[in-house]
């Protein structure tokens, strides 16, 4: 279906001139009117809007409800990062828990796309609304694990990956996780 946006098609040169002039005049009137309206600008440093929790700004590493580091250094965030600003080294704690020996985000490179958060299987890496990270020395924009770690669970406060994963850690042994049967007795002949 064709939609006519112009409801009245002007006819003849005089009509066109008249319509054109009218339209231009209307434009000038509108802009003139705006000059006397109060601006709608929120002036930033004086006025700080409270941003929604899902705003994508500075990245944090959250903790699980038991206070442990959630990050298992699975490399998914660094793998998905389109600008390669995340680097880390995974390691093993004495109880078998996998963790990041070091974890580094270069915020000078980060484009705050949120793909890392989307990829994170343990809800560890999250983008927070904190956006005021401007620095004069670019090296201060390279955040290490201790700068990134926060002491809360962020947007997903209840999840603890190690309660679901089948691997043995201090949180649970074989069969000690959610939705797990006790370990199979290999030596039994019972059906």
């Amino acid at each position: 279906m064709r939609v006519d946006l112009i409801d009245k098609v002007p006819s003849g040169a005089i009509g066109t001139l008249w319509e054109g002039t009218k339209a231009i005049a209307a434009g000038f009137a509108t802009t003139l009117k705006h000059v006397f309206r109060p601006p709608i600008t929120e002036e930033y440093p004086e006025f700080r809007r409270v941003l929604p929790a899902r705003t994508r700004a500075r990245i944090v590493l959250t903790r699980d409800p038991d206070g442990g580091e959630r990050c298992v250094a699975c490399y998914l965030c660094s793998g998905v990062c389109p600008v390669s600003c995340i680097s880390m080294q995974s390691a093993e704690r004495t109880d078998g828990r996998r963790f990041a020996a070091w974890f580094r985000i270069n915020f000078a490179r980060c484009i705050y796309c949120g793909l890392c958060e989307e990829a994170c299987p343990t809800s560890a890496i999250q983008l927070s609304p904190m956006f005021e990270t401007c620095e004069r020395d670019i090296l201060t924009l390279v955040y290490e694990k201790e700068d990134l770690l926060v002491d809360h669970g962020g947007k997903d406060p209840d999840y603890n990956f190690y309660r679901h994963a089948g691997v043995v850690t201090a949180i649970g042994g074989k069969g000690g996780h959610i939705d797990e049967d006790p370990p199979v007795n290999v030596r039994s002949n019972m059906p």
Partner: protein, 815 residues
Amino acid sequence: MPKLTIDDREIEVAGGTKVIEAAARLGIMIPRFCYHPALGSVGACRVCAVKVLEGPVKGVQMSCMLDAADGMQVSTTDREAVEFRRYVIEWLMMNHPHDCPVCDEGGHCLLQDMTVSGGHGIRRFPGKKRTYPDQDLGPLVQHEMNRCIHCYRCTRFYQQFCGYRDLGALSIGNRTYFGRVASGRLESPFSGNLSDICPTGVFTDKPSRYFGRRWDYQRTPTICINCSLGCHAVTSVRYRQVARQEARMSAAVNGWFLCDRGRYGFFYASLPGRPRQAAVKGETTTMDEAIAHARSRLETLPPDAIAVNGSARSSLEVLAMTERAARLKGWRGPAFFADAGAAHNVKTAIARLEEGLAVSLGEIGQADFILVVGADPINEAPMLALALRQAVQKGAGILVLDPRPVCLPFGFMHVPTAPEALGAVLGRLVKKSIGPAGLDGPAARFYASLPDEPATGQEVLARAAGLLAASRRPVIVCGTGIVASALVGLAADAALLLTAAQKKAGLFYILPEANSFASGLLAPPESTTDRILKAVVDGDVKALVFVENDPFATSPDRELLERALAKVELLVVLDYLDTPVSRRAHVFLPTQTLYESGGIFINQEGRAQYSAAAFAGGAPILETGGSDHPPRVYGTGLPGADPQPAGQIMAQLAGEPMASEIGARPEYFGGSTVSELAELPDVEAFPEEGQRLSPKNLPADRFKSVLPPSSAAESDELEIILTERTFGSEDLSSYSACLETREDEPLAGLHRRDAESLGIREGDGIAIRTGNTTLEFAVRVYDNMASGVMVVPRLQRLPWQGLGKRVRRQDIRKA
């Protein structure tokens, strides 16, 4: 040749080919878990389902179990088949734990790929997941049984393919468990392949545990240099650290697998203590200054007073440059071998590997009778044992003639023979298995020269002779380590004789080290390390240059070495290892490993193979960051990237102008006196399977071997056989910490008769006094070894250099 249609595309395959294989040839990758080209089909996982539209059996079929038939029409994309595969994956995932983020397989996991590509995402089954207890399988393989999908690949590989029995399937039904009877180190020296072969994360690589993901690794096709076979590997590097090595498929060499020595023998490249800075008299300095210093010192000496030593662990580029430098400057050497015996064995082997006779490791699996002479495959070249086993699986008979208590993962005939009697037994056997008919000229003369009196009580030999007589593709495998020089030629002549007797005979040598072939090609005939050391002691040589050579590990005469090092005026050492000699060097120049510089290695059959550089060098981040995050500094250049390719350093030491570019081959080999090398292709165009080098002319000494006189007389001396072990003998792999627990106990082996005559029982300690040192061993008594010899493992941590070649019985005492 059945012709079938898969997904509307026609293909003709050999009879007996499975549909899954035919599809792979068309580039159609049918999902699979249990099927593996090396292991064959069992039809356990049910994920390779395809729909047969036209053929002997119609409907959904397992493509790995189905022989391709003429006129067959197969659809891999049929709705029914796709649904079937989707459900299979869903039920395999029913009990699979939710632990991909902490699983090392994640990123190269077949199950993960199939699950994602099959579209399964949410577990619909509301029940609980089955769990299993795990086992500690030693330092190389990590066990996590929860992830198992029961494809049986592990046991098929471990038991069927390799012939080891300590890992297998236990229990039944839903409780089927893959592991050992009890926790403990895996016995197989091929156990590392479990982490490659497992389609999910039940068996993962322990040394690289939690280090990185496949996608983060810089993966480079390389060549394993931990023995002379030159197996193909893929090296993974991350954060300037060589982290992992996997097998790379190669039909001509290693097939799909790699032994644990090769798989884990790379740790020397990223050791924290690896010397990365040049040093003059112990003071670290820049490369340029150290080279300039060494050069100015060398120039003050007459060329004849300078001697160069290399080793067979260097690449062809390094060896050729070393040889060129010495030749152009008139220096002595280079010596690539410890003594004349070793040099002669290798040079003979190279000369006798004529075209048509030499077989590759891959071809060994096709042989129908294999005669192993003076070789201990599992210890000297582990992958050879695996190739022999494949031949055995196909019905080949194997006879081992060796004084040592050889142990192989398959049934074989063993005739324990004293080293000097090896030739006679070989001759008798060959003579017995073929008749004089059809032989003429030199072959007939050689046949006649062989001894023909039957050995007493050796019905094993008679049986073997029968098998050899019946065989059509026999192969003679000959070691070069413990045998007398004459035997190397004799083995070749024996193979030639078998060829003359209308057999398709093959010849396969085991050489001592990775690049022994190249060393043998390039080494000047009369220069060996022991001669050079003697010349130092005599005062003729004043400066020694060691190029990637640790004489403390290779030289059998420790005393001579110590005297020479004490007397030498200038000791220049080029190496990437922290060795005793590099610590004593007046000028130390760090060099690059194979992973940094790349290089050509020529394996024992003369196959020149190029191993690409895996990374640019530099100290690992683990080291520079002190296992914490990398240092917070900006800068260009890599820390610890001083080392240069040894060839480049040699060129600078010699003041050659063409130093700079590795890989500019004509520069390296153009002036070479070895014509074979001049034909090598450029490294960029190196064929993946390498290029075989063979002697330009037929060897002059064909059929001219003379049997060494055998002295069967009982002597009052025991011959000492220093034998290599799978783990702990080879120089580079002895730097791998994870292999330390795999090393054997240093036991001295004695035949029961010798032990009884000495009054020694199994487990006793003995002390051997030689010269002014005393060495102590525990004793193991064998029935299946030659008498009159004592077998001592040549382990790096053992001071075997003091032992000498023979020991008098009265010098052996119970400790």
